[in-house]
Structures are given as structure tokens and as C-alpha cells.
Symmetry: C2
Subunit: 315 residues, 2 copies
């Protein structure tokens, strides 16, 4: 009987799951609904039941499942402790991997979702050719992951790769969701890009197609920039400046081989990687070699791929 | 015959060497003069000859020496390549460890000097109790070292831990030695502290004991701050702000267990660690736990201790 590995990506509305052979691409992908309950083990039981149901439906013995990896939308300490999932009604105060292990009787591992997605791109996607990479998830917020010499750097308290809350503008007056001011996420997430555009429209008289009354989304701003709209270009330049500054910091701290951008915002490709590379070069003056800034290739599947890559190490 | 390990710290004027048993403190420390010559192997031959001479003088068989570790004042790539040592007349274009290995017939290893000093504090000094630490050498310039899960992060091109050239103030108009503007080194090195003090004295009318015409050194500025001199305090506050910003970035990227300050500037102790901890807390708002900022304990010996720690892994 061939062994299988499960990659699980826990999100606020759905839990994505994929079953992988011990090597290569998944044999099946499916989703279950994320249900929030008071009961301590509800989330792990749902994952276990979802896995068993799928295995049964496929006619695969449950004992074929050798290990489970999970991405969780919150910080997990080195000891495996999760204090709280803000997007899941504060559920937490538990040890996700140990809890699932107890329920399923097989080795389990859990990590922060953005960290795990980085692992996915590292093991299967855009960073497959590298040993040390930096990964940004540019979505509604900004997450990240750091891989050094093939190992995920989760950190002592699970804060490894929390790149969205690096302060890039100490003079900012608007507050970030985290309560601080000037975080990378306030400029370089989808909401950050929209925020910047609205601010420029309000505070300047620069002509712009964005003044025509339409809904301003991240996509609309990027499209405007692609068509050389002055406000769109100003937003993209500031995006590049702050991303480039942080990338330069990482070049001079970790000297990675590549920087990978994932998440919805990264779909704008070269429009965004070009200014990042420009400012990164400027801010890391002494570095003879700068890493390329690449676009992630696994899309929303990065989480399940990364979770499987972590679980693979357990068998 | 008990095996010995040599730790070598190559500086611009002297080469510090210590001989260590396979465990514990060095059995002897000595120095040789750094000589700069055109001949390709001159530096490695001087190190070899210095080691042999000392062993002979101590009546220890040369074959007792099992491995040599070296700290070199320049970046060394993952492949072991050194392009150039600016402070040693541009000597370089070589593979230091391989060159010394060829001359001595025993395993050798080389790393950037600040990285190697970090390894010294990690293996023998202030960071002995930790697995993941960030290390700043605050001297004439600012160097650094990053240790993640017990391993030195030297990076692909040897730029790991080049913390002195992280840009902390993109609006700076003065140039750093590196040619860039706004590097951490321009504020947080001994020369940076003096530069800031002179700038405040020139550009403001804030009363200060530093206006009495004496020579302004880093020590004088720190002493003034300790005595609540307004300009001294302003300098220390800005020092703390920029160091704290970078420390916060590292908390949210690598989540280290401790941050260690070495180099001459670090002798001011709590005067400097207090403002760093204050600003680090402010800039890493989402981090529930902040690492302590500690003072290095090995002083100028950190290099030879770290070089020995690296060499120990070879036997």
C-alpha cells in the first residue's frame, strides 16, 4: 500500500486539503468548511473526519495516511503552542499538531500559514531551485516566510517572517490593523495600495483616471499604473520603495538567493517587481549581487503544498 | 596526545591567535603582525609559521593541531571565495580556507570577522544559553552576525549580518563610507555617535557641556548623556531609535531569543540598551515577547573564540 501525506491549509472560511504521494504532485484536492465552535477539539475533529471521509470515498485504507501537515492563520511557537486565531473567533490556547496527533495516531506538524505557503513555493514552486529564500504574501494583508539553508525560520515565538508589520515609515499618522503606525502592510497589501491611491487623490490635485468615480480596487490602481496614470504610478513607486527597503534589509541580513512574491497583489508581476528591484539595489548599495524578485507559481495551493512538504519530513 | 584547535582573527594591524583544547577555554593566546605583500599566499604562510613557531616553543608536536578557524575582515561567499580585503591593500581573489588547508594539510574554515565574533559570543560568551541570536559589533563601523538554530547565516554571497549598511533613514543627506546614505553605521557606530553630536551642536542651540571645546569622542558623548546633557541625551535617543527599528525588524523576521551588542560602543551598557529596548518594543508592536538586549562578554577575544567554534565542527 502506497503511503499518503496530507497537506492542510486552515483558512477563515474553508479548510483546503490535498493528499500527496510520498513524492510529487497531489493525488486529490478538496475543501471543507471552517466551522467555529467552542468545543476544544472541533477544528481538528473536522479535519480528521474530512480526511477519513475522502479516503473512504476513494477506497483508500485510512492506514495509508502517514502524516499530516497544517498551515494555521496565527503564530505557532517553537514548542508548537498557538495562543489565539483572531480570524477564527479567538479559538486557540492549544497545541495544534499534538492535538491532531492525539486524534489521528499519526505524526502531525503545524506552522503559520504564510510560513507554510513559503515552504510550498520552496519545495514545489517558484523557489524550487534555491536553498535560501524570502517570501512575501501580498494579499488583504502582508504575510511572509523566511527559509535559510532549506529550513523554515519560524522563530522562538512563531514570529518568523511576520514581514507585514515591519515599520517602514515611522512618520505615518494612520494606524495599521495591528495598532502600530507605518507597517509595510499599510502600503504593500491590496488594501494598502487602495489606501495610498485614495490618499493621493484626496491630498493632491494630480490628474488621474481614478478620479472618475469608479470603485478603487488594487487591480484598478495597478491597471491605471500600467497605463501610465500619474496617481497609479505614484502608488506603485511608493509600493516599490517600501518593499525595496525591506528586501534590501534582508539582502544585508540573510543574503537570500531569491525573493518570491505571492498573494493576489503579485498578479501584477513586472509592474511591481521592477520598482522593488530598483529600490532594493539602491538601498543595498554594498551588495554586489542582488537576488531576483520572482512571482510565486502555486497560487492558492501554496499552503497545502507547503504543509505536505513539512509533513514529508516526519515519515 | 591531546588535539588542539586554532582560532585566528585577522585584523588590519595584528592577527590574533588562540589555541584551544577540543573543549573549553584556550591554552594560549598570542598575536602576530599583519603583513601585506603582493605574493599570493603571504598571509596564510604567516599564520602557518606563527602557529608552528608557537607550538614548537610550547614543546607541542605540530601534528597535535587538528583544525584552524579564521575570521577575515571581508565577505566570504558560500563557496568560500574572498574577492577583496579593503583594509589589507585589496588583497583577495582567493579561497582563504582552501589556501590554508593546502599549506597546512589539516581542515580549515573561514568566515567574515563580525560573523565569526558572533559565533564566539554564541559558543562561549553572552549568547551561550540561546539557539538563535542577533549580534551587532558597534565599533568604528557597525558589523553583525546572525545565528539561527545554532547555525551562522553567512548567506549566498557572504553578506549575512552586514547590519551596518541597513538603511534606517532614506532622507539622510550625508554619505556613508559605503557610498550610500542613511546606513545604520552613520548613527550607531562610534564615529556615527560623534557625527550626530557634532551635527546637533552645529544645527541647534541646545545647551550642552559638549560646547566647551573639548575633543568629542563617542565616550565623551555617552558620558554627557549619562549626566543628562541635552545633546548627549538626544544622540543616545536617536541611536536607540535606529537600533530599535532594526532590532524590531529582526524580531518580526527571525524572532531571535536575544540580541547581543559587542564592540567598543557597547561598553556604555544600559545607557544604550534601554533606549534600544524601548524603541524595539514600539516598532514590534505585535510581538508579545521581545528578546533581551545584552552586552557581549568576550571583548576583543570574540573572534578567536568564534573561529575555534567553527573549526571544532571540522574534527
Amino acid at each position: 500500500m502506497e503511503k499518503l501525506i496530507a497537506g492542510v491549509d486552515v483558512g477563515g472560511t474553508t479548510i483546503k486539503i490535498a493528499l500527496f504521494p510520498t513524492e510529487g504532485e497531489p493525488v486529490c484536492k478538496f475543501e471543507i468548511k471552517t466551522r467555529v465552535r467552542e468545543e476544544k477539539d472541533f477544528l481538528w475533529k473536522d479535519i480528521r473526519d474530512g480526511l477519513y471521509e475522502k479516503l473512504d470515498a476513494l477506497g483508500i485504507e485510512r492506514s495509508a495516511l502517514a502524516a499530516v501537515g497544517m498551515g494555521i492563520p496565527g503564530p505557532i511557537t517553537k514548542a508548537g503552542y498557538l495562543s489565539s486565531l483572531v480570524n477564527l473567533g479567538g479559538f486557540g490556547d492549544c497545541y495544534p499538531a499534538k492535538d491532531l496527533e492525539r486524534l489521528m495516531g499519526i505524526p502531525c506538524i503545524a506552522g503559520n500559514d504564510a510560513n507554510v505557503a513559503a515552504m510550498g513555493e520552496f519545495a514545489y514552486g517558484a523557489a524550487k531551485a534555491y536553498d535560501s529564500v524570502l517570501f512575501f504574501t501580498l494579499g488583504t494583508g502582508v504575510g511572509g516566510g523566511v527559509i535559510v539553508n532549506g529550513e523554515l525560520v519560524s522563530g522562538e515565538h512563531g514570529l518568523g517572517g511576520e514581514l507585514g508589520h515591519l515599520v517602514v515609515n515611522p512618520d505615518e499618522t494612520d494606524s495599521c490593523n495591528c495598532g502600530n503606525r507605518g507597517c509595510l502592510e499599510q502600503y504593500c497589501s491590496a488594501t494598502g495600495i487602495v489606501r495610498m491611491a485614495k490618499k493621493f487623490l484626496l491630498e493632491t490635485e494630480i490628474p488621474s483616471v481614478l478620479r472618475d468615480g469608479r470603485d478603487i480596487s488594487c487591480r484598478v490602481v495597478c491597471e491605471a499604473a500600467e497605463n501610465h496614470d500619474p496617481v497609479g504610478e505614484k502608488v506603485v513607486d511608493l509600493f516599490g520603495k517600501y518593499m525595496g527597503l525591506i528586501c534590501a534589509h534582508m539582502v544585508l541580513t540573510l543574503d537570500p538567493e531569491a525573493i518570491i512574491l505571492g498573494g493576489g497583489v503579485s498578479r501584477s508581476g513586472k509592474l511591481l517587481t521592477d520598482p522593488i528591484e530598483k529600490y532594493m539595489a539602491e538601498y543595498s548599495h554594498i551588495a554586489m549581487h542582488k537576488p531576483p524578485v520572482l512571482i510565486a507559481t502555486l497560487g492558492n495551493d501554496a499552503g497545502v503544498y507547503g504543509a505536505a512538504a513539512l509533513a514529508r519530513k516526519l515519515i
